[in-house]
């Protein structure tokens, strides 16, 4: 799996998770759910954002490596 595919799956996964959580909050919205959201979900979303940003950078780097180092005559 390439970096772009992995990034896409990760972004899709967190989007679906947050969508489900928004549905859940419709039925469960108290201090316990707020603590749960603060402790796990918000942190996870931030971590995913940081990771997807890093994956974007890595994808650009790998593209540059391929461009600079590959054998043009075979490509």
């Amino acid at each position: 799996m390439g970096v772009y595919e992995g990034r896409g799956q990760l972004a899709k996964g967190i989007k679906e998770l947050l969508s489900r959580w928004a549905e859940t909050k419709g039925d469960w919205d108290d201090s316990v759910s707020q603590n749960f959201e603060k402790r796990f979900l918000i942190m996870l979303e931030m971590d995913v954002r940081s990771a997807t940003s890093a994956m974007d950078s890595m994808a650009q780097i790998l593209a540059a490596v391929r461009r600079d180092c590959s054998d043009d005559s075979t490509g």
């Binding site: 749960f36 971590d47 890093a54 890595m58 490596v65």
Partner: protein, 296 residues
């Protein structure tokens, strides 16, 4: 020495063709040298970029390996707690109101198989001596001001038959406020056998429960935790905690050893516990210092 290369037809090639081939070869050489330089440059730079990448995704990796399973486990515990409360709802309406007495018939069959109360009614259980180890109200109140981290109990989690038995043990149930506090003996985690006793409320916010060591080591009260914190770690105790005032339960690595009613009658006795029931013992004298670490 000059060498003339001959073509397929045996005749030497023209100078123009040779110059073209030479130019092409020189270009490919230059390209190759450039690629070689690029490979060397990237081989120096790429490890640094990979390290930076790993650093950037490490938090996510940690979250996926640790936080996500923890979150799942917390949700499972909450769900189990809710299901346990829902299962306790009886004809009088459940535990929604504060301190409401509810009736439960769940687990009657299990209780009839294992409880020892019917034939032992009126007989004072040897476990009753544990009541004398429970600190007085003022000592419990003093200890309640020290919040401690939830203690990992060595007592085994209650099996299904015991959970059902706890529900059927008493017709009267007395709900506990999840935010109320339970006073714990110091060094409770070191005890192989513990007891839970429900007493009169000793201070505002008191659940009435005290958890002490059932061995012969005398301890001071070490601090208190909320009912909610205890159930987060030991949701299997949820039904036991709704037993009314005067009840006392003894737990060890095998589960529930014995449950005493308010008159010290043994209402529950583990089948194998009969032989291990303690003999009346002299009061314990060894005192351990409070070792519980205060939290915020």
């Amino acid at each position: 020495m000059k060498k003339l290369f001959k073509g397929a037809d045996g005749r030497p090639g023209s100078a123009v063709d040779e110059e073209k081939a030479l130019a092409k070869a020189l270009k490919r050489l230059a390209d190759g040298e450039q690629k070689c330089k690029a490979v060397m440059a990237w081989s120096r730079k790429l490890p640094k970029d990979i390290m930076m990448f790993k650093g950037s995704v490490q938090r996510l990796a940690t979250a996926l390996q640790s936080d996500v399973p923890t979150a799942g486990a917390q949700l499972s515990r909450l769900l189990a707690t809710l299901e346990a409360y829902a299962a306790m709802q009886g004809p009088t309406g459940g535990l929604g109101a504060d301190d409401k007495l509810v009736t439960s018939s769940i687990g009657a069959a299990a209780l009839s198989m294992t409880r020892g109360g019917a034939d032992a009614a009126g007989a004072r259980s040897p476990w009753a001596r544990l009541r004398s180890k429970t600190p007085a109200a003022d000592a419990r109140e003093k200890a309640s001001g020290t919040s401690i981290a939830p203690v990992e109990l060595r007592a085994a989690r209650l099996a299904t038959v015991e959970l059902e038995g706890m529900l059927a043990l008493s017709a009267e149930r007395s709900a506990v406020d999840p935010q109320s506090r339970i006073v714990l003996a110091a060094n409770l985690g070191a005890a192989a056998q513990i007891y839970l006793e429900r007493l009169d409320i000793a201070f505002p916010g008191d659940s009435g429960w005290y958890i002490g060591r059932a061995d012969d080591v005398a301890t001071e009260p070490g601090g208190s935790i909320t009912v909610s914190d205890l159930l987060d770690a030991r949701v299997d105790l949820v039904d036991l905690l709704t037993l009314p005032k005067g009840y006392l339960a003894v737990l060890d690595g095998g589960g529930v050893v014995s449950v005493l009613g308010a008159r010290d009658e043994e209402l529950w006795k583990a089948p194998e516990a009969a032989a291990a029931a303690p003999q009346p013992a002299p009061s314990a004298t060894a005192t351990e210092p409070a070792a519980a670490a205060p939290t915020t």
